[in-house]
Amino acid sequence: PAGGVSLRLCGTRAASEGVNKPVIDRIIRVDHAGEYGANRIYAGQMAVLGRSSVGPIIQQMWNHEKEHLATFSELMVAYRVRPTALLPLWNVAGFVLGAGSAFLGKKGAMACTVAVEESISDHYNSQIRTLMEEDPEKYKELLQIIKQFRDDEREHHDIGIEHDAEA
């Protein structure tokens, strides 16, 4: 399971004080949208390959993404960030991508996972760089969360490679 990252949320005002609001807003909104999309992708894959041999692997990765989404939802409330208006779009697009890649077979699903997790890792890395440039101390908690999630996504990527290569 994804590492236990606990969130000390001491009220929304405390969370918002002194932070570069536009930067944090964008980061949290994009990450929330990304995790939501990832959720839907795995949901689509499970819908097709749930009963196959890779079912449990996909389910495990999906559970991680659910935890990630929950964390970003909490952060969203704490920092009073608006969610992306394109959520309904990501809802459908993610599911279609997941189900579509799964219809191509197990290899297809894993290839999709590898590609998606690759770009998510890069994306998290550039966010980590941005926050480090801003103020590593002020954003310590957020940095910790993003680093943890980046490691989780890399793990998914490696799992995908493993199964892609085998199958």
Binding site: V48, F72, R80, P83, A85, P88, F103
Partner: protein, 286 residues
């Protein structure tokens, strides 16, 4: 040497002021009253003279400000706040601002600092009301957290918040339709929309909204509609203490609560349909 920077709208005054310092002219080029403080700073050889009390000055003087000087923005706030008293008589206009400036001991020419359509005064007022509302909601939240007050159900919370905010218009209600039409002018829409959306967001935040999906937008859109329509009803309302308005508000909020239930029903139906289609697709593919 104490340099003066005039506000950006009056470059003529800046060059005139500089000329005055170098030529030691006494007469001010625009013939404004001797009371005008922000251009009457004496030349170098009279640094100690001038009116007592806080003198307005401008930021950007190269570190020559001291602590008791206020910034231009603070001065503008003071003038606009003072001007509100004259709105019932003069409307949202440069006249009201000029009267406000006079009560602060400034020249009526101070009104030239602001837009001629009165939008600065209106936006200042709206912003002030929104801040007051946020403070009240914050206090209420603290009382609930301390256990000294009951947490209100959502519909009552929204009703009360909108009522409190709209009641702030009552002293200016005669002139408020004028204000609304000015706020709808294209060049004012970004600012007025900004103020409106942040107020609505504040109300929902204190109402306890924690939605992170599309509901976030739906709720704010619905509340904005309720607020705007109630405001318009209030303009036409002649009942004692605006009771017709508050009844209208109550009905609209009740409608909104029902809308939520209906939306849920629609969504469940939609989900069921989608599941059916997925099942069919999987069956066909197997």
């Amino acid at each position: 040497v104490r340099c003066q920077l005039s506000p950006p709208q009056r470059p003529l005054q800046a060059s005139a002021a500089l000329r005055r310092v170098s030529d030691e002219k006494k007469k001010e080029p625009l013939g404004s009253s001797p009371q005008q403080q922000f251009d009457s700073h004496p030349a170098d050889h009279q640094p100690e003279q001038g009116p007592q009390g806080p003198r307005p000055s401008y930021t950007g003087q190269g570190g020559q400000e001291s602590e008791d000087y206020e910034s231009e923005e603070q001065l503008q706030h003071r003038i606009l706040t003072a001007a509100l008293e004259f709105v019932p008589e003069h409307g949202w206009s440069a006249e009201a601002i000029a009267e406000g400036a006079k009560t602060l001991g400034l020249s009526v020419a101070a009104a030239g600092m602001f837009h001629s359509d009165g939008s600065d005064l209106i936006l200042h007022f709206v912003s002030q009301c929104n801040t007051k509302l946020s403070e009240l909601l914050e206090q209420e939240q603290k009382l609930v957290q301390l256990g000294e007050a009951e947490k209100k159900p959502t519909d009552q919370f929204l009703r009360d918040a909108v009522e409190v905010r709209l009641r702030m218009l009552i002293p200016y209600i005669e002139k408020w339709p004028q204000a609304l039409s000015i706020l709808l002018l294209p060049h004012n829409i970004p600012s007025s929309l900004n103020l409106l959306t942040s107020m609505i967001d504040d109300i929902w935040h204190y109402a306890g909204d924690q939605s992170t999906d599309f509901n976030w937008y739906t709720r704010r859109a619905v509340l904005t509609g309720i607020y705007n329509t109630t405001e318009l009803v209030m303009m036409q309302d002649s009942s004692p203490d605006f009771e017709e308005t508050w009844r209208f508000l109550e009905n609209r909020v009740a409608d909104a609560m029902n809308m939520g239930n209906t939306a849920n029903q629609v969504q469940s139906t939609g989900e069921a349909v989608v599941q059916g289609l997925m099942g069919a697709a999987v069956t066909v593919s197997n």
